[in-house]
Amino acid sequence: MTDHTRAAATPEILHVDQVGVTLAGRQVLDEVSFTVHAGEFTGLIGPNGAGKTTLLRVILGLQRPASGRVEILGRPRSPRHQPIGYVPQKVLLDPDMPMRARDLVALGLDGNRYGLRLPSKDRGEAVRAMLHAVDADRFADARVGNLSGGEQQRVLIAHALISRPRLLLLDEPLANLDLRSGQEVIALLARIACEQQIALLLSAHEMNPLLPVMDRVVYLAGGRAASGPTEQVVTGEVLSRLYGHHVDVLHVHGRILVVAGADAADEAAAAAGPVTGVG
């Protein structure tokens, strides 16, 4: 599952260095540093409000960091188009949108360019191959607005991948999916990262569905981050330091549970006053 020698051997795609972000006077990210390598599946894990989306926006260049820097392929990120594919959490796919799955994928090829383009055989073939790669041939001609959540997710992944990015960012892709569709999407992503040697950074507030495929984890809490192989990062010691209070990490039947430790619960109880019948 976790292969340290491979991480060192494959090229470095993304390097986040001491990034700090302040939004409306609040320190959202504080000296966040980590590296993502080609062919690696990295999970960006943290509770809601930990700054996962903000961090992705910094990497994409949509949010300017107050300090630190982001390097892509060894160079500082420039405002020009970067070799990054992006699947945001919310995309407006109205049933009225006159767009088939294959049209949305084609837009990923050159949607940022001006002027009209004529359909060509090469483009059609590239789109067909991409739809096949994400197992979306079945609904290639359906309106995207009429597809299920899992199907839309596949089409959006194809849209992001068709421009052949080196880095693929996904913001909470599992948030609106049922368990089964979520597992299918994860398996698909792991296969693509490996086959196409793409560096993959996926944010999620729940890490268990990702455990079978995750090479590394970037754990975000309290604005700070710890990164590395899952078993080194997701420990009571490391997470307690991030959260700033005692946290227990429990392993139950191959699942990992992160729970506020006894101290924190006591402190919360003390702050809330005498409470009976809790827990």
């Binding site: 945001p88 949108m97 006159p98 837009l107 001006y114 009209l116």
Partner: protein, 303 residues
């Protein structure tokens, strides 16, 4: 056969210079409105389109008051209004209704003043009717050139920004991450929308311009799956409704004993409305047929 022909086309329809001008302007305006309208509906900016009609009314009535042609006023005010809406925050989803509403209120106030002054000073009789409900039969042939030039400008703008506009409509974040200037593209679209609304204000009136903008586009979006299909369907619907409306308005002169032509704008809007309702019936029938298979697929995946 001949009887049927004369019943449909009342005497002199094809020889009338007024009809020629009306058909030319109506055709151009219908095509521009349809193309811009499809993007307007997709982007959920119908309210902005309607507000720009009211802004155009203020510009048109103001222009009449100071002796300019209404078209100059429609276009000038529309562009100024679009710029103002962009500045207040039309590009943010939550700021849209607010920005639109503020500009709309100010514009209607202006129209109220200008139309009042126009009718009381008596320099422009029928100004209210002309500005609010259109003047396609009284437009001079010289205006056709201006309409064609402005229409070409709006269509060329849309063609230039079509792809980033579509991308930004799906997700501003995806578009921005790919380096598309989302704000600039949004402003470009608002300006094309302003020109389109100004043109339809001239044809069927500032108050009714929304019908020509939204109606054919909304019907087309119900009937077709692809963007080129939607654009073509909207254009055909818009042009057919406009020309049929012109014919019916011309014929209406011969209907009653009083020999009064009914307003052409009424016929155009009525046909568009009927088309939209009909498209709903057809889309509903198709929807009832299609998702059975799709739902079965979904159940299979979930199982």
């Amino acid at each position: 056969m001949h009887q049927l022909y004369t019943a449909v086309f009342e005497p002199g329809f094809f020889a009338s210079a007024q009809v020629h001008v009306a058909a030319a302007i109506g055709g151009i305006v219908a095509v521009v409105s349809a193309v811009v309208g499809v993007f307007t509906v997709m982007r959920g900016q119908s309210f902005a389109g309607h507000a720009l009609g009211d802004v155009s009314a203020a510009g048109g009535s103001g222009a009449l008051l100071i002796g300019l042609t209404p078209l100059a006023g429609f276009v000038g005010a529309g562009i100024a209004g679009a710029g103002m809406m962009d500045m207040i925050g039309v590009q943010r989803l939550r700021g849209r209704d607010l920005a639109t509403g503020i500009v709309l209120g100010a514009a209607i106030g202006g129209s109220a003043l200008f139309l009042y002054l126009g009718t009381t000073t008596g320099t422009a009789t029928g100004a209210t009717q002309q500005i609010l409900f259109g003047s396609i039969f009284t437009t001079t042939p010289g205006t056709v050139t201006a309409v064609a030039a402005l229409g070409a400008l709006a269509l060329a703008s849309i063609a230039t920004i079509a792809r980033p506009l579509l991308l930004a409509t799906l997700s501003t974040d995806i578009a921005a991450a790919r380096g598309a200037p989302v704000r600039l593209v949004g402003l470009g679209f608002m300006l094309a929308l302003a020109v389109s609304v100004a043109l339809s204000s001239l044809a069927i009136g500032a108050l009714l311009s929304t019908a020509l903008l939204i109606g054919p586009a909304a019907a087309a979006l119900r009937l077709t799956k692809t963007l080129p299909g939607a654009l073509a369907t909207a254009c055909l619907t818009g042009v057919a409704a406009t020309w049929l409306g012109i014919l019916l308005a011309y014929d209406s002169y011969y209907w009653g004993p009083g020999h009064h032509s009914l307003p052409v704008s009424f016929f155009i809007v009525a046909i568009i409305f009927a088309t939209y309702l009909a498209s709903g019936l057809r889309a509903a029938r198709r929807q009832a047929a299609v998702p059975v298979a799709a739902a079965a697929d979904r159940d299979r995946i979930a199982a």
